[in-house]
Amino acid sequence: MTHDAESDEALLGRLARTGDARAFATLYERHTRALYSTALRIARDPDVAADVVHDTWVRAVESLHRFAHRSTLRTWLTGILINCQRERDRLRRHDSVDDDVSIDEIVDATSTSPLDASQLDRIDLDAAIAALPPGFRQVLVLHDVEGFTHEEIADMLGLVPGTSKSQLARARVRLRTFLESGIPRTAR
C-alpha cells in the first residue's frame, strides 16, 4: 500500500512509532494547504501564516500522543494552529485577540443569517473578511469558510458553543455592513 492511500490514523501511528518521514510528508501534503489558507485568512500576512503553519506542524508532531482521535486530524491541527496564532498575537500586541470586539453590538435575526455569496465579488469578500476584528474573523473563517461546527470552534477557541454562535452572528452583521456600505478606513 502506498502512503497516499493510507488513512490519517495509520500514518499518524507510523509517525509516532518510528518517526517515518514518508508518513509525515504524506500528512503534510494532505493538510498544509488548508492550514495555510486558514492561517492566511486569520493573520492576513503570508510570512506570519507560514510561521504559524510551521509551528503548528512542529507542535503537532511533538504532541502526537495527545491526539485522542475524538476529532478529525484536520480539526485537531486547526485547533493547534489557532493557539499558535493567538500566542503570536499576544506577543505582538500584549493583549487579547478579542479586545476589539464589541459585545454590545445590536444583532437582529435577519442580519445574522448566512450570506448568499453567489452575487458577491471575490475581492470584495476577501477584503471584507480581512477587515473584521480578529475575534470575529476567527469565528467567521472557521465556520463560514472552513466549515467547522460551533462545537469544534468552541473547542478550538476555548469557548462554549453559544459564544461561538453569537460571535458568528455579530461577525456576519459586521461583514454585511462592510459589503453594503464599504469598509471604514479605521478597519483596514
Binding site: 512542529v58 499576544r90 443569517s113
Partner: protein, 194 residues
C-alpha cells in the same frame, strides 16, 4: 441573501467557494522537515521514496552526474596541463553559546521559528546539515576547563548547527547572520575533521 435561522450550523462552509485560495510557500516543507529532524521527531534515513525525497533523489542524481562530468572535464584539462580550480565543500559546526534573555514560552516558540527561517535560507553554496538546541547538562566528568581561580560559571552551550560551506569565510559569514547574536549569544565556528 438568505433568511435561514442562525441557531444551527446553517451557512457552514458556505463562503468557501467564494473566497480566494493561496498555496503555501514551497520552502515551508523543507523548513518544517528541517525542524522536525533537528529535534529527532522524524528520521532522515526513512525519507527515501517520499514525494519530496523522490525530487531530492533526482537532484542528487543530477549532482552526481554533474560531479562525474566535471571530474572527467578536469582530468581532460589537467592532461592538457591546465590547473583545475576546485571549491571543496567542507563541514563546519556553529556552536551557540549563552542563554538569551526572555527565551521562554511563546517568545521561545517565536525565536525557534526565526532560527528555523534563518537555517532554511543560508544562501547559495551553503547547506544546512543539522542542528539541535541543547538543554540540561546530565553529567560532567574530567577536570573543569574554567580558569584556575575564576568563580564565574562556565558559559552554557545552548545549541549547535552543522553546515556545509565552500570556504571558511563563507562559514564565518553564515555565522555572522545567526539570530543568536542578536539576542546576546555568542557563536563560534569550527571546522569538522573530514
Amino acid at each position: 441573501m438568505t433568511t435561514e435561522p442562525n441557531d444551527t450550523d446553517a451557512g457552514r462552509g458556505g463562503l468557501r467557494a467564494h473566497v480566494s485560495s493561496a498555496e503555501p510557500p514551497r520552502e515551508l516543507a523543507s523548513r518544517v522537515l528541517g525542524t522536525l529532524e533537528s529535534r529527532g521527531l522524524v528520521s532522515p534515513a526513512k525519507r527515501r521514496g517520499s514525494p519530496w525525497i523522490s525530487r531530492i533523489a533526482v537532484l542528487a542524481a543530477g549532482l552526481v552526474l554533474g560531479i562525474l562530468a566535471r571530474s572527467a572535464f578536469q582530468e581532460q584539462r589537467e592532461s592538457r596541463g591546465t590547473i583545475a580550480v576546485q571549491s571543496p565543500i567542507d563541514q563546519y559546526v556553529l556552536l551557540l553559546y549563552g542563554d538569551t534573555p526572555g527565551d521562554t514560552g511563546a517568545v521561545h516558540v517565536a525565536r525557534e521559528a526565526e532560527y528555523g527561517r534563518w537555517a532554511s535560507a543560508l544562501g547559495a553554496g551553503v547547506r544546512w546539515v543539522g542542528g539541535h538546541e541543547l538543554h540540561d547538562v546530565v553529567a560532567q566528568f574530567g577536570d573543569s576547563t574554567s580558569p584556575v581561580g575564576s568563580d564565574a560559571p562556565p558559559e552554557r552551550l545552548a545549541g549547535f548547527f552543522v553546515i556545509e560551506a565552500q570556504s571558511r569565510e563563507q562559514a564565518a559569514h553564515v555565522a555572522r547572520t545567526c539570530p543568536h547574536l542578536k539576542y546576546g549569544g555568542r557563536v563560534i565556528v569550527m571546522t569538522v575533521a573530514s
